[in-house]
Symmetry: C2
Subunit: 227 residues, 2 copies
């Protein structure tokens, strides 16, 4: 958490967010906490906007960076409703999951990269596939958010197959799980050896470019240069 | 700066980096500062590794996130030399320039996005062009690092032309300059109206996807969904 975010959290009347993120906000007298379940982003955004419209100061919290597959877009989406025309929205950046995983691994996103969510909850799967083909053909490092969920396990299987059409089997893959939390773990493997059954919603994947490599001690980095 | 980075900076004997970033490190007794010029990343990395090999504790500092077009990759590149086999390298993440600009603008990278450096100092320009075509065809939001320098002004001209082959003239463009510093500024314009002459090395650009839009108050966001 940045000092800018810590300071903002001392100034609000309400925090709104997915329960596990609300739990990380320090409690204090006068702060009302509104924890909600997963996948109800718009409801959560509307609750925050309703409170703000009534004159309250509200912080909507996300894990990582709210601007990177976090709540920021959902708040702007809900705020398109003219009822919220007078509500001021300000976004404070945070460390995104892709940066946290990258730093733990070394410097895998040290060159041109792309960040894609594999969830087809908000976009058609063919759009995701087209993007993956384009990214692989352009030899960008690829960070994958939302690789799987309990009910959504086919996407990472299909993604591995698709990427192997473009990338070598020994392409370096980093799997970060719960990074930034006490139970964090990191696995470095290859595109061919990636086990889709081991991937769930707590994972973030970084698929290397063709130049991504491992050091003798197992750290992963992508050269800045392209030969 | 995160608390993790602040803590690390109190524990080292040396800081090494580009002069403007060294200037931001709080001074204290016993801390030796090694400021260097721009574009000498490998020399700087070797200096840090030489100090570390001699038993000193060294921090190499970057602006933004060292892992995103910062010094992390350069340090791993220099550390490939077997002379540095015993030096341990650890990367601490920071807020990247793309996140800082995105947050100031609203939520422009709230959906799938790519991050590309326009510099052809370390990769052939045709590689950059191929990547820009792929990213534009896949309708990803595009963040551009190093859009221009004093001697390198043609790339942003060519990029604007190239992107207009794929994207509508009214595609939203965010230009952040010196974001995160006292003199920061932000301009929201369109792909057709973007003035290449106004772009220099202090700028970071975010080119919207087709869905990227402005709010009534001028904030920029990209919907999470694709219709």
């Amino acid at each position: 958490m940045t000092s800018e975010v810590s300071a903002a959290l001392t100034e609000v009347d309400h925090v709104v967010g997915y329960a596990p993120y609300i739990d990380r906000v320090p409690q204090r007298a006068g702060l009302q906490r509104h924890a909600s379940g997963n996948t109800v982003e718009l409801d959560r955004a509307r609750l925050a906007l309703d409170l703000a419209r009534a004159g309250e100061r509200v912080a909507v919290v996300s894990g990582g960076d709210a601007g990177v597959f976090g709540m920021a877009s959902a708040v702007f989406e809900a705020a398109e409703d003219l009822a919220y025309a007078d509500v001021a929205v300000r976004v404070l950046p945070g460390l995104s999951a892709v940066q946290a995983v990258a730093a733990r691994a070394g410097a895998p996103i040290g060159a041109d990269f792309a960040v894609v969510s594999l969830s087809d909850r908000l976009k058609p799967w063919p759009v995701v596939e087209q993007r993956l083909h384009a990214i692989a053909e352009a030899d960008l490092v690829l960070a994958i958010y939302n690789p799987a969920s309990r009910s959504r396990t086919q996407q990472i299987v299909d993604t591995q197959k698709l990427l192997l059409e473009h990338r070598a089997p020994d392409t370096v893959v980093v799997i970060g799980r719960d990074v930034g939390r006490a139970e964090e773990s990191l696995l470095v493997t290859t595109l061919a050896e990636l086990d889709p059954d081991s991937i769930d919603m707590k994972c973030l994947l970084i698929i290397g470019a063709s130049s991504t490599r491992r050091t003798r001690s197992g750290q992963v980095w992508t050269p800045r240069f392209v030969e």
